[in-house]
Amino acid sequence: MRSNNERSGGWRRIFLAALAAMLSLTLAVGCGSRETSEEPGRAERRIGVVLKAIDSEFWLAVRDGAQQAAREEDVEVTVLAPRSETDVEGQLNKIEDLIAQKVNGLAVAANDVESVIPTLERAARMGIPFVTIDSDANAPSKLSFIGTDNVYGGKLAGEFIVEAIGGEGKVALITGVPGQQSHIARRDGFLQALEGGSIELVPPQPANSDRMMALNVTENLLESEPDLRAMFVTNSTMALGASEAIKARKLPEKVVLVGFDTSEESLEAVRKGEIDALIAQSPFNMGYLGVKKLVEHLDGGSVDKRIDTGTQVVTSANLEEYIRSTQTKP
């Protein structure tokens, strides 16, 4: 039970709270009036970069790219990220904090295509230009989307397969969660590459970017299509699942397997010959070009609405060279 003594303490507390609030308000007014209207010098330019998360090699590479560009252009870069790729609200908070700092430009990898738009448009209204990197958002004031050309990447995968199997035979396609834009684009590019040849495509199946599901789907495929020649799997997590199913049936020599994106484990699978090729994206370029293009814009240059960060076919032939190129951190 609360005593009378504590009750009166409550009033004193409220009084002191009010006092402290007044004190902090005074401070706020005192310091808040400072404004600088001069054009910032080059070295004082600040670019904010907000990633989807910073929990994988991919995002670390984006960060390294942004920092490299900042060194070359002599600007200050702040890289922030919410706690996970699903943390939409946390990402908005990070963007707002950068807007409050009056950064001179923003590069954002949107966790949700729609949620981020009002905040980015607010930045634009306050005179802060922005680009999207890796994952686009359809904001009207966006300078540019800087990311992988997934259609072209899918096409590279298709061309690799056509050549590897001599232009004929049965080919399978496993995709991600139905409706995800990047996976649809990879599929479209892949189908373009197959057009006109005498390749028979088994009906495509989704494996929701899930390794276990990819393993099951592949097992069923190998069972129902014993003369399958090649498979394209639209990300590397699923490619690892598919490769396990192919290994279990002792078929790595017979079935050509191509995945999309790279990870330490999937590159190791390429080295062992369990995955024949990976279509590598360039997360480093996303961060690097994101900052570079913002600086170009601030310098008065024009920036293309769509910038491809590049894709590359990684096979056992160029594996070592590829790994070396991703590890150079100047």
Binding site: M1, R2, G9, G10, R12, R13, I14, L16, A17, A20, L23, S24, L27, A28, C31, G32, R34, I54, T78, V79, L80, A81, P82, R83, S84, T86, D87, V88, E89, L92, N93, K94, E96, D97, L98, I99, A100, Q101, K102, D112, V113, E114, S115, P118, V177, G179
Partner: protein, 309 residues
């Protein structure tokens, strides 16, 4: 005087933090940034209001983050079906309160410890949110509704969520200090057996306490959904821990019987100011996670010290 200082230490801590940040970053004490902090702290502060009732009654509610997501998803689906925004908001509040009531009933009727009962609800509500949305984001919500999350009142100065928070905080303070429900909340938390023996209907009041907590989680779901303009089945992951931290930093005891609304709001603001300040000072996400943990441990240590005197 010393005693008063000790009671107020969380608030003093907040003011000191603000003063230090004002010196470290010239962007901290701008109107734009202070409004950011207020808006960003709102969802956690609203969860902390409900959590205060539960913690003062010597309970715990681990389900608030999931309940936030579940109410947000149902509300978003309702709006997509053409529901009026007002109806949608009521749906969100009702779903939250219903989850809270179930928590209360499981605790008082099935006699499960609050930790287990709400841990179960945490997983069930998360699962239901994913089931009803099929795991997809529910977007394309009406603009009238989004105002609740990203709108402003009083000449584009005060964010709408902050106004909602202030109204709720005053109501919660009045309920906690000036009503029977509030007195009984402290009594149950102080000594449940004594409360029972003195004739308090402990079961009914405890159920009501969890219902209030669920209702605030539903409200937080409404605001969060309006702010991100979408119903996200993955929203609110880990928010329960921030809410518990806010209440504890604000001086409540996890053993019950102690705590105030002013404290909970202060705690939520401390966490909000800390996150914002670390962003302004360009501290990496990894260090931010570490620092918030360290502040919680530090705050509870001071609290212990205060009790030992």
């Amino acid at each position: 005087m010393k005693q008063v200082l000790f009671r107020l230490w969380a608030f003093i801590g907040l003011v000191v933090m603000c003063v230090v940040l004002a010196f470290l970053s010239e962007d901290f004490l701008t109107e734009e940034n202070l409004m950011n902090v207020a808006r960003q702290a709102t969802v956690n502060a609203i969860l902390a209001l409900g959590m205060s009732f539960v913690i003062i009654s010597a309970g715990i509610d681990l389900s608030v983050g999931s309940v936030l997501a579940f109410s947000g998803c149902i509300l978003a689906l309702a709006l997509k079906q053409g529901c009026h925004p007002v109806v949608g908001v009521l749906v969100g509040l009702a779903v939250g309160s219903a989850c809270g009531t179930i928590n209360g009933l499981v605790i008082t009727r099935l006699r499960l410890p609050p930790f287990i009962a709400t841990l179960g609800m945490m997983s069930m509500a998360r699962g239901l949110g994913q089931i009803i949305t099929g795991g997809y984001t529910v977007s394309g919500l009406p603009d009238q509704f989004k105002v609740l999350g990203s709108g402003y009142v009083f000449g584009d100065d005060i964010p709408v969520p902050v106004v909602i928070l202030l109204v709720c905080a005053v109501l919660a303070h009045i309920v906690l200090t000036h009503t029977r429900l509030g007195r009984y909340t402290y009594a149950i938390g102080g000594n449940e057996t004594a409360a029972y023996l003195s004739g308090i209907n402990v079961r009914a009041y405890k159920t009501a306490i969890y219902m209030i907590c669920g209702g605030f989680a539903g409200l937080a779901g409404v605001i969060s959904t309006a702010r991100v303009a979408a119903g996200l089945p993955t929203a609110g992951l880990g928010y329960e821990l921030d809410a518990i931290a806010a209440v504890v930093i604000g001086g409540a005891s996890l053993f019950g019987g102690e705590g105030t609304i002013l404290g909970a709001i202060t705690g939520a603001l401390i966490i909000g100011v800390l996150k914002n300040g670390l962003n302004l000072m360009k501290v990496s996400e990894y260090w931010q996670t570490f620092t918030i943990g360290a502040v919680i441990v530090g705050a509870v240590t001071v609290e212990r010290f205060r009790h030992r005197r």
